[in-house]
């Protein structure tokens, strides 16, 4: 999330605008489709081991071959979309909700709340956030699943919520301060509406555009971070199918069965690019209006 530099549209790219949104929606739609229907479309059980046919080359029965435990890699790749999308979306949405609330509060009411929120924003900005993620995850880590959450998911989501809200708080706080003193807000206030009502009905709807663009990009970055943490052994534990975990599992087979590693990485990148295209297209539209 720290790496995200939201790109501004160059003049020339506006010509191709309709294409971007369609391609992005197509890619992301495909992933959502796969995630929802994995049990129906996957040819095999992603956890079923078949030691007699381990490390098989791609064939008609195993489209991407099998891994060191004889599991069907294609099915694991499809099932991984479930974990990555679910955790990725939560890891972007929760920080967005917390950050938007705190940022709006700080920007609108000012005072002590603003002082505290601003200091924390400054602090986190001058902190290697992802390294802190890793340290915090190690400290909390090692969870079993709970309710709808699989093993390892809750610590990741908690860490993202604890640290990730700052980006949104900064964004929303700045926007709220910008519109706070505009005429229509002053008019709403002058009409005797409560401050809460002014904030939720008149200020927030007008500052959320950038936040929505950013949260779309952030889902991709969260999935990337999740896969990286899993690859390092701190995210989703084996044998659960997750793209980063799959890469870590097959790491020493890379010289021979390179597709075991290349395909999960391509899935992460493709999903990220799809989300980036949607975010970029939304950004263009909002700027045009």
């Amino acid at each position: 999330m720290t790496a995200a530099v939201v790109a501004r549209p160059a003049a020339a790219s506006r010509v191709r605008r309709p294409g971007k949104l369609a391609v992005g929606l197509g890619i992301v739609g495909l992933f959502v489709f796969v995630a929802l229907l994995a049990p129906v479309i996957a040819p095999a059980d992603p956890l079923a081991q078949d030691l007699l046919h381990r490390l098989a080359n791609p064939s008609a029965s195993h489209l991407l071959g099998t891994d060191a435990l004889g599991r069907d890699v294609f099915s694991r790749l499809l099932y991984a979309a479930r974990v990555d999308l679910r955790v990725g979306v939560l890891c972007a949405l929760l920080p967005m909700l917390i950050g938007t609330a705190l940022g709006a509060f700080a920007g609108f009411f000012g005072g002590v709340v603003d002082g505290v929120v601003s200091r924390v924003i400054e602090l986190v900005q001058s902190f290697p956030v992802l390294v802190f993620f890793l340290a915090l995850l190690a400290a909390i880590g090692g969870s079993v699943g709970w309710g709808p959450f699989g093993p390892g998911e809750i610590p990741v989501i908690v860490v993202f919520a604890v640290v990730g809200w700052v980006v949104y708080a900064r964004l929303v706080r700045g926007e709220v301060i910008r519109v706070r003193d505009l005429e229509y807000v002053q008019a709403a206030r002058g009409a005797g509406l409560s401050r809460w009502r002014v904030l939720t009905r008149h200020v927030l709807p007008n500052v959320l555009n950038q936040t929505i663009v950013y949260v779309v990009l952030d889902v991709g970055l969260a999935i990337l971070a999740l896969a990286t943490l899993s690859f390092l052994g701190l995210g989703i534990p084996s044998p659960i199918p997750e793209w980063g975990t799959m890469i870590a599992e097959s790491r020493d087979r890379f010289a021979q069965q390179w597709w075991l590693i290349v395909t999960p990485g391509l899935a992460i990148a493709l999903l990220g690019i799809g989300l980036a295209l949607i975010g970029d297209a939304l950004d263009d539209r909002l700027k045009r209006r």
């Binding site: 790496a3 020339a12 001058s126 992802l130 802190f132 400290a139 896969a227 390092l232 990148a269 690019i273």
Partner: protein, 314 residues
């Protein structure tokens, strides 16, 4: 110049509370761990008495405020405790793993600059050309390429077939050390360079369109001289501050790539410590990285003043 000296002093002063807050965050890492930290250090087979004794010795039985004060005091004296896994003093762990990390950081920054500056210059001078468009797309695409995956792909498809670079580890002499950091540094600069290049490109465009460049051109200055003395000097400062903003991202990349390439620097040590719940090592290395980011931002601000007199306060 005195104004600038005062500015540097002011920035240094601002850094003090920031550093204090950073130590607080790092201190809190051990406080969020479920369970008794003394028990984690000693392992499940240690006796209750031993755990209680260590708990007392480490001050875990006192109030959090006292513990934080003790932590700060120890920090000032350079006492970082001992690793729970290897029983090595943490200060020693850091000292012995520092060199590979510094090599990797230096190589990554250098490679990023070597890629970003020519790219930005070509894109700025051939506006709306294919490279200009490619750079825009690339700066988005590379954000989503997992660096560890890029590293693995480089190992499999460059290091293995050519034999030019080691597939893992860190060399002994400078030449082999350089060879061991080339691929991880390239993987890292691949994700960083397009972002930096885009920022550099837009400031170069601004400079190229300015009146003084037109004047320089009219007086017959062109090519390398124009680039070096007129364009690069004036467009570098936003790129430097962006690189500083990305310092945390860069360090995380270093952590990931050290683990990927099996280079035993601070990053891979942090990962090993994190997987093994070696809290004091995690704490110390996180602190080193955090202080480095604060320092880089400070240096970048000062450097910006040196590169561009316009940002110096009067």
């Amino acid at each position: 110049m005195t104004g600038w000296a005062r500015y540097v002093g002011w920035r240094l002063l601002q850094t003090a509370p920031l550093l204090l807050a950073v130590t607080l965050l790092v201190f809190l890492i051990t406080k969020v761990t479920p369970g008794d930290p003394a028990r984690i250090i000693l392992g499940p087979r240690a006796s209750e008495e031993a755990v209680a004794a260590l708990s007392h010795q480490l001050g875990y039985d006192r109030s959090v405020l006292v513990q934080y004060a003790t932590f700060l005091g120890n920090l000032v004296r350079g006492e970082l405790g001992t690793s729970a896994r290897t029983s090595q003093p943490v200060a020693e762990v850091i000292g012995s793993h520092l060199a590979p990390t510094l090599w990797l950081v230096a190589a990554s920054v250098l490679l990023t600059a070597l890629i970003a500056v020519p790219l930005a210059w070509t894109a700025a001078t051939h506006r709306d050309g294919w490279l200009d468009h490619a750079l825009r797309s690339a700066s988005i695409v590379v954000l989503y390429l997992p660096t560890f995956w890029v590293g693995l792909v480089l190992i499999r498809f460059v290091a293995l077939p050519t034999g030019w670079f080691p597939v893992a580890g860190f060399g002994e002499d400078p030449a082999s050390r350089l060879r061991s950091v080339v691929l991880p540094a390239f993987a890292l600069s691949l994700s960083l360079a397009p972002v930096i290049a885009r920022s550099l490109r837009s400031s170069m465009v601004e400079v190229l369109d300015s009146e003084y460049v037109a004047a320089a051109r009219a007086s017959g200055i062109s090519g390398a001289r124009l680039f070096r003395w007129y364009v690069l000097r004036n467009s570098l400062s936003p790129a430097v501050s962006l690189l500083a903003v990305q310092a945390g991202f860069l360090l995380f990349g270093v952590v990931v790539l050290e683990a990927t390439f099996d280079i035993h620097g601070l990053g891979s040590t942090l990962v090993t410590a994190a997987v093994g719940k070696d809290l004091l090592v995690i704490q110390a290395i996180t602190l080193v990285f955090a202080v480095a980011v604060v320092a880089v931002n400070l240096v970048a601000d000062v450097l910006q003043g040196a590169l561009d007199p316009r940002v110096r306060p009067q």
